[in-house]
Amino acid sequence: MDEEYDAIVLGTGLKECILSGMLSVSGKKVLHVDRNKYYGGESASICPLEELFTKFGAPAPDDSYGRGRDWNVDLIPKFLMANGQLVKLLIHTGVTRYLEFKSVEGSYVYKGGKISKVPVDQKEALASDLMGMFEKRRFRNFLIYVQDFQQDDPKTWKDFDPSTADMQALYDKFGLDKNTQDFTGHALALFRDDEYLKRPAIDTIKRIKLYSDSLARYGKSPYLYPMYGLGELPQGFARLSAIYGGTYMLDKPIDEIVVGEGGKVVGVRSGDEVAKCKQVYCDPTYVPDRVRKKGRVVRCICLMDHPISNTRDALSTQIIIPQKQVGRNSDIYVSLVSYTHQVAAKGWFIAMVSTTVETDNPENEIKPGLELLGPVRQKFISVSDYYEPTDEGLQSQIFISQSYDATTHFETTCLDVLDIFKRGTGEEFDFSKIKHELGDEEQ
């Protein structure tokens, strides 16, 4: 450990592993440390199942759960948008070669106590039970408008300036009712609250396009999920970092981030060893004095031996419960994966219900999500604080990531990473730095 590094990265969560990989690829000498014995921190997938039960203080699982090591349970549920930022990062860094994916089978939205498939094209919209007949026509016209929309071709704007007019105005232009607005904004554009209605429509149009572009890539839904669980993602980036020279140390407690003149970081201490460095990149848990609590997220892991009703027995799915449908300010998210992804023993399903905490009784807040699931064999509830840095790092050279939010996708994750990289190195990440002779087959 007693060496000098360009950067020391603390924590092997997804964000830190992506950063570590990007830094190593950029030619920096990187030391990557985790206080845990395993890779992934909060982004790890827990294996075997016994360990998950122990973690939550539950008595060991019985035989009906099959073999413990057939399970890989994520602590934080997320899906990848097929055309989103993380997929771009995976492709450009070559990390995609370490992973295999499956498409999530369907996406559903909650309305008036039951769930309906999110209509993704005009044909599905016409068949959907979300809308009445006349509303369907209006929604269809809206979808056609969005699909034909080109930002650089004002002719396609149809007498509507989306960079100044807000989204509410666009909905009104097509006469869409509140329910349709609800699922468009929350299940297609994936907004977490209704702030977007007052913002320029262009933002929402782009998000709906991202949704349909992602959908176009692999079919059934716009979402992807990696075989063996999300824990494979940080590991993939850790490997990238290692093959570009990064050094890994696990099970290494960090006692102090050593700061020198002008408040600038000079190293990291573990016991009486100090590793010198010019920069530190870390998650909030390593620097409690440089972050502030922004909110809380409640997550409930549910082990079930059946799929969710009314999803055509999908082996994987996402359900969005828009805030307004249940009188809340933030949406509730349900994600489901199963044995088909090698994350559970044969016949088993893992559902996760999550939302941003709004009351003193978080458990009660996720009830509408739990009610959709049917009988649950085992539930694990956790409430975690959500932190953001108070230190931008420009002076201290300590760059801190934000905690993982309630979102069930990675778009905000990637934006945070790219932003940190830019603050830390003063430049955008240059994807051309990655030699593409990594493997022999593709290039």
Binding site: K37, Y39, C47, R69, A82, N83, Q85, V87, K88, L89, L90, I91, H92, T96, R97, Y98, L99, E100, F101, K102, R217, Y218, L224, P226, M227, Y228, G231, E232, Q235, G236, A238, R239, A242, I243, Y244, G245, T247, Y248, M249, L250, H341, C414, L418, E428, F429, F431, S432, K435, E437, L438, G439, D440, E441
Partner: protein, 207 residues
């Protein structure tokens, strides 16, 4: 005419730091040898595929190196995923590297349950008259692990001895054991790789 895809099998290298895994990888990829322990030697290249012909069938061995992660930390469990074979490497001049093999074996059977396991004693060029690890010891080890080991080899990355023979034999063994399985394999069981679309291949920047 339809092209037949050559089946590709992931083969991973396991064992202590310094036993010659990267050197085996280097021999496999371009048949060279370096003495320096320079970790940059395999920088950026972490797996490589080569086609072997086994009694009129083609099989691609895709060999993976650890990337040096085992130097201080443990190897990620994802390294083992999808592996069809694992080569358990020790150095013939280093008894310690032989005696910890059971630990590595445990990792393999845990994370790559279905992988065939091969044992490789490397640095055979360093053997003088009194071997540090006897054939009897190697046999005893194989017996202890309930014959999980499909084949044992002695190699030298320095002079190249035994290397081609080892990889050819591994290819042969895999073809034998996969004969029926390869044909049954249905795509449904598997995930897919994500690949760039035309459009994403163009914009090399996320901004």
């Amino acid at each position: 005419m339809a092209t037949i895809k050559i089946p590709e099998q992931k083969v991973i290298l396991c064992g202590e730091y310094g036993v010659g895994k990267s050197s085996l990888f280097r021999r496999f990829t371009n048949d060279t040898f370096v003495t320096a322990t320079d970790r940059k030697s395999t920088l950026g290249l972490d797996h490589y595929a080569k086609t072997y012909r086994v009694s009129d069938r083609d099989l691609k061995l895709q060999l993976w190196d650890t990337g040096g992660m085992e130097r201080v930390a443990s190897i990620t469990s994802s390294y083992y995923k999808f592996a069809e074979a694992a080569i358990l490497v020790f150095a013939l001049d280093n008894p310690a590297s032989f005696h910890v093999l059971s630990q590595h074996l445990l990792d393999i059977v845990t994370y790559a349950e279905n992988a065939k396991i091969f044992l490789c004693g490397n640095k055979s060029d360093l053997l003088d008259d009194v071997p540090q690890i006897t054939d009897a010891e190697i046999e005893a080890f194989c017996e202890q692990c309930h014959n999980l080991i499909t084949g044992t080899y002695k190699t030298s990355c320095k002079n190249g001895q035994g290397i081609d023979e080892m990889f050819s034999d591994i290819a042969y063994q895999l073809v034998q054991s996969n004969r029926s399985r390869l044909e049954l394999q249905s795509m449904e069981q598997h995930g897919f790789k994500i690949t760039p679309t035309e459009e994403t291949a163009e914009d090399s920047c996320l901004c």
